[in-house]
Amino acid sequence: MATRASKFGRRKFLKGAAASAGLFTIVPPHVLGGPRHVPPSEMLGGALIGCGGRGPGTYKEMTKDLQVELRAQCDVKFRDKADNKMFYTDFRRVLERKDIDLVAIGTPPHWHALISIAAAEAGKDVLCEKPMTRFIAEGRAVVETFRRYKRIFQIGTFGRFGVSKQRNNIDTHKIMRSGLVKDNPGVYVKSGGLKVKEWSGRIDLAPQTPPASLDWDLYVGPSPWKPYVTRRHGGTHRGYWDYEGGGLADMAQHTLDPFQWIYGKDDTSPVEIEAFAPPAHPEVTGMWAWIEMKYADGFTLVLESGEWGTPYERKKARPVTLAGLDEETRAKVQALPDPEPLVTFAEAVKTRKQPGGNAEAAHRCATLLHLANIAIRTGRKIKYDPVKEEIVGDEFANRLVNVPMRAPWHL
């Protein structure tokens, strides 16, 4: 599941967590007291659901600048160690606990939305690994649930926090949000680095018996039932439509999270999406050349794999800068106030303000990944209504916007 080397490896994490749990069992910090210890009223209870790959890193991000005690670890592969005290296989048992305040979600993406929603319903704040969702309707359901319960959601990519402090990006953000530029000629091109071949799925494997420690039924969860194949689990799940969306869904978020903020697209989505790719396989993700996404304001976003087919040549990259504006518009933009600094997850938990990578922003970012993959899978240019969040005039493509789930799991 890991996309990059983690200094906070799983084995080290589990070992440390177990040791900590043992220590707290003997002498809890609130008993120790004193100036070097956090009083119990300030100590938050944390849980990690999905402990492989990026899980420990996601948990670490969640605890940054907060006092959090790890109280539960949950993974469908913990059948051999689950005690329903510290180790769990079923996330529902974790969310039932009143002493859990924060939940880090590091499962594969087909579980992200459902566990996030259930966590909010149980009163928890959430930091969820990217990509936020497996399909578009999941994202809207997460947004609505976190609004309903006034809980905090932060996606596990933080690129926007850095770029939003840079002057040139602040200027671009202000231009884009001002609405002063009509028929925006801006073009953003992301070329390469999307691990398209690396996260293409394998289709030459016969079903096997799952390991005894793995609850395969719970792993499959809301996705269509399939027999166990090793590659469907443990990081290589990315290559299967049932669980993620290939390198595009895995890697593009790193670029698109800062893109969304810089170009002011946190509350909207493209209206036309076109892909150049071969017809997709029904089960596994595969190769594609490029995806062009046009916004209603004229702005164009291009993702280019550089791993298949001919390069994208329709438009050249064209940044949106103050220098590109006429004098009058530039003056109007410069007169606008700078945006407020983004709120971190820790600040959000303490103040109940929405964090920088909140549910709506994360949902709009994930929507880009899903629209791109829908264009790849259908082989058709699609039109999208960013308000209704529906594909326009193509009922078959629209079926990929809201995918029915396997009972008892539903949005």
Partner: protein, 281 residues
């Protein structure tokens, strides 16, 4: 009439796997369309012949036939392909419920989820009690929508266990008002998942007659049922307000506001109080 050998020659035009990685890259759409058109030129028999190439286990050996059938499903979603789509869908639907292995039928159902319409609903409805493929059938019906609720309602009285739960959930996904009576009964089911599916379905429908049932579920002992049924109650209240049934919605909000007195449930109390205030209650 096309022979199976001739059909196999067409399907074999699909590229080979990457032997080293086990991954697959299809042809360009232009080359693929030539393959798809060749199958379609053989009419219904061509489609049925490709289905006959599927193995009873997806062991990766029949990937070319699977790729062609799925590619056809996507290809025929294009404007102007309506006539060929009708032939394709009818041919796929004709392969359900008979002697084909269940894994093959499951794959066929999943292609109907991509491209099927109302005309496929009856064939899918007949699979709702099948222990092996009922989930695929229900998912396909929910995706197709048109004609789905009728099939689910027809099947529901004869279903038990997993197939019944799946059908209850599918009716909820479709927000089928005509199923409200059956869903109200299921809201008192002995099975927790069935109860929760029914409560969620009634909430999605915005069934004003279910306020007491949903609140009873929401007052379950602390745990998963209470969490999920409370969520259904809040959703029901939102739907009732959207339908102009404010009095019933206010009853839900006030109940949650008054009963969530434990500090651990203050977030529910706050959510209900805020929603009530926003709605003018």
């Amino acid at each position: 009439m096309i022979t199976q050998d001739a059909l196999r020659e067409i399907v074999n035009r699909v590229p080979e796997l990457d032997a080293k990685r086990g991954t697959f890259t299809g042809p360009t759409w232009e080359d693929a369309a030539a393959i798809f058109d060749a199958v379609l030129a053989a009419g219904r028999e061509g489609v049925v012949g490709v289905v006959a190439m599927l193995h009873d286990t997806d062991d990766g050996q029949d990937y070319k036939a699977r790729y062609v059938l799925h590619g056809l499903a996507q290809y025929l979603g294009r404007p102007g392909k309506e006539a060929a789509r009708a032939v394709f869908v009818e041919a796929l639907a004709s392969q359900l419920g008979g002697e084909r292995p269940k894994a093959v039928q499951g794959f066929v159902v999943r292609q109907l989820q991509v491209i099927g319409g109302k005309e496929a609903a009856p064939a899918l409805g007949k699979l709702l009690g099948d222990p092996d493929v009922h989930e695929f059938a229900a998912q396909a019906l929910v995706a197709i929508r048109s004609g789905a609720a009728e099939e689910l309602r027809k099947a529901l009285p004869g279903l038990k266990g997993g197939p019944r739960l799946t059908a209850l959930q599918a009716l909820g996904a479709l927000a089928d008002r005509d199923s409200a009576a059956e869903l109200r009964a299921a809201a008192a089911d002995a099975d927790l998942d069935a109860r929760l599916a029914a409560l969620w379905a009634l909430a999605r429908i915005g069934d004003a007659e279910s306020v007491d049932r949903v609140l009873k579920g929401a007052d379950a002992a602390p745990g998963w049922e209470r969490i999920r049924a409370t969520s259904a109650a809040l959703l029901l209240a939102e739907r009732l307000i959207a339908d102009g049934k404010k009095a019933e919605a206010f009853r839900v909000y006030r109940h949650l506001k008054d009963t969530r007195t434990d500090a651990a449930e203050a977030y529910v109390r706050d959510a209900a109080a805020d929603a009530l205030a926003r709605a003018g209650g």
